[in-house]
Symmetry: C2
């Protein structure tokens, strides 16, 4: 039994026309018109399969296929169809379309299962629009409240709750987890680790610890031509020193750590004015929680000292902090064994990228099925995989669903 690769490709391509701008990838920021249009496609397909479609009150979409014993905890499979700005064609949407294709394949072959199988599209995974992301799965998993989600604002000041209503995806069913037998998510790897291993299926032991923070640097605006250098309080120069220090942390704390400053805002951002203030984002990821904490503490000490030298002030604000999140060992082992049964090579790893699975693994047995990314290029228009690997990942998902769902015919 295999999935229909051509049909999976076609579904992917159809969704990826939504928000596509030639040369600039796909932009389906959460709760945008493009996100709504992609959701509408998905809901249509789920209904075509005769599934019960449920939209919960934070915008997660479930397509529920009944089991022989529909009271059993379901097998939940899916991911997200929102993207970053100018994103690629696999991140997130591959997992949702693979889940859809699994259901289509079950229908093709008239296969029923003891357990219900639910396809899920989680709302606002990326966090590009409403940081820190993973919003829908966090609320559904009980880690956050709906009101927390509703109050999130985008850079234009628009609120998550309002935007969810605007696109017509604020459902009435409360977002609240039921017991889940297994959560499985197919996703493209977002780094170079899996590709460099030369293997087809990545089997993460879990998600690395994450810290998403913002540094606020306060200096003083001055005329660029009139203020002598030594009397300046140049917030941008202070921030530049700090950014280089963020970048240097992995060299000092170990190769498994990755750190990034991806976003910054300079005020007033005027060519002829010494910058008065700078905010910049800090992203620290590491499997070793102790190292990650020490790196953050040392970064703060460095930033304090750099700010003092530049006659500025600095404060750090952590938006999200999680220690590493291990997945379910027996489900992970089943993914690995299933992949090998299908003739694929596998690679045990840690996921440096976060996923909705990071929330789900806190309430249900969870595993992921990663496929290799080419050249490590994710969150970019050029994001690419080999199609062989995508099909392989979807077939591993199908077999795992058959096992977990207890196929009966």
């Amino acid at each position: 039994l295999r999935i229909n690769g051509a049909r999976l490709r076609s579904a992917l391509d159809t969704v990826n026309q939504v928000g596509f701008v030639p040369g600039h990838g796909r932009t389906r920021l959460a709760l945008s018109d493009a996100d709504r249009d992609a959701r509408n496609l998905l809901v249509g397909w789920l209904k075509d399969l005769g599934l019960e479609v449920v939209v919960d009150d934070v915008g997660n979409i479930f397509g529920k296929r009944r089991g022989h014993d529909d009271r059993l905890p379901p097998v939940l499979v899916g991911s997200h169809i929102d993207t970053v700005k100018r994103g690629g064609q696999y991140d997130g949407v591959l997992g949702v379309m693979a889940a859809l294709e699994v259901i289509r394949s079950l229908e093709d072959h008239g296969i029923e299962t003891d357990r219900p199988i639910w396809v899920v599209n989680w709302c606002e995974e990326e966090g590009t629009r409403f940081p820190p992301g993973l919003v829908g799965s966090a609320v559904w998993s009980g880690l956050r409240t709906p009101d927390w989600a509703y109050g999130l604002t985008d850079s234009a000041g628009l609120r998550f709750g309002d935007e969810l209503g605007r696109i017509g995806y604020r459902g009435e069913t409360p977002a609240a987890a039921c017991p889940v037998h297994a959560y499985l998510e197919v996703h493209v790897d977002q780094g170079v680790v899996l590709e460099q291993s030369g293997k087809t299926i990545g089997v993460p032991k879990g998600i690395v610890g994450l810290r998403f923070a913002t540094m606020h640097v306060e200096g003083r605006a001055d005329h660029a031509g009139g203020m002598q250098m030594v009397q300046r309080h140049d917030a941008l120069c202070a921030a530049a020193e700090m950014i280089l220090q963020v970048n240097a942390l992995p060299n000092r704390f170990g190769a498994d750590m990755v750190t990034t400053v991806g976003e910054m805002h300079v005020r007033p951002n005027s060519r002829f004015t010494v910058p008065a203030s700078v905010d910049f984002a800090v992203d620290i990821r590491c499997w070793d929680d102790d190292l990650a904490l020490r790196a953050w503490e040392e970064l703060n000490e460095f930033c304090e000292a750099a700010a003092r030298r530049r006659i500025c002030q600095v404060s750090g604000e952590t938006l999200l902090f999680t220690g590493r999140l291990p997945f379910d060992q027996s489900l992970t082992s089943m993914v690995e064994a299933t992949a090998r049964e299908l003739g694929h090579t596998t690679h045990p790893m840690a996921s440096g990228a976060s996923h909705d699975a990071a929330n789900l693994c806190q309430i249900a047995p969870t595993a992921m099925i990663l496929v290799p990314l080419i050249g490590g290029r994710s969150h970019v228009p050029e994001e690419e995989t080999s199609w062989y690997d995508c099909e392989a990942g979807a077939n591993v998902l199908l077999q795992c669903v058959l096992k977990s769902g207890a196929a009966v015919s």
Copy 2:
């Protein structure tokens, strides 16, 4: 004979209500609605004085007071009423209002002059909206063409020519200098040099050499959690090294140099994406042209090396380069002598800030009358001077106009 200080203060305060937001200073970006409203005030006042008002085809406003011999080259006095974002209450507008007040004082006392006296408001001095600034005076002085001005675009892609028409200040008179007997501009100093001298009137020998450039750094976008550090092409880290180098140039090339990075743009500027590209502004000012050139060349070498280390590419684009611009020695001496005759202390200096006088001094005898800034804070809402100094500057202007214009009654 003295100007009417209370009337000058009142005119200043009236213009400064335009574009004012409490706590955020005044924002009258060139060719904005606020700029238009301030222009309308000025034009009304010039007409009330019976002056002939001429708006040229790049938006400069002239108020022409006839001389006994109106064919003689005029004495031109003024500055600009546009501001940076969140600017102060003196930069530019003090010089225009002082010029207006000089005419009002001549009228009060029925004083006529042999030469015509023209008040001028130059269009888009600051360059915050349409870099590199000094636009109207550059075209009028023949250093740039009207088409160059019309084609300038702001960050929203709006064109100078269109915006000039939109606010109703695209006149029909060609912007073209006639012979000018003397150009005089009162302005607040924009640094700490004059204040620290303890003197009342600053008499600049000229404007320092300027280079306004933009550095473009090209790296590569990658997923913040998935791409290993050593394989990144992080444009922001490369830019951070370059920005610190810009900041370090004056330490190496001499204390009279000042350098600034005031503006930068990070793309895609997304928390979870390694920055793909960064543009940042470079501002180098120095009285010594050779040092300034060596600093720019060395900066470029450094940037090339930093880009290579970070697997990025860099290119520098100079938007404006001028060597130092000396003012007219005899006119400068007259300003100094006049200030002393009025009992004020004077300080010879170079202006680190550029002004429309930088363009005018290339076609006409030019001098400036600077008044001290408190704490060196210009281009900020808190910009402040002592009112005694402002009146002193306006009175020096009045006496210089009487001498240059050859008062006859």
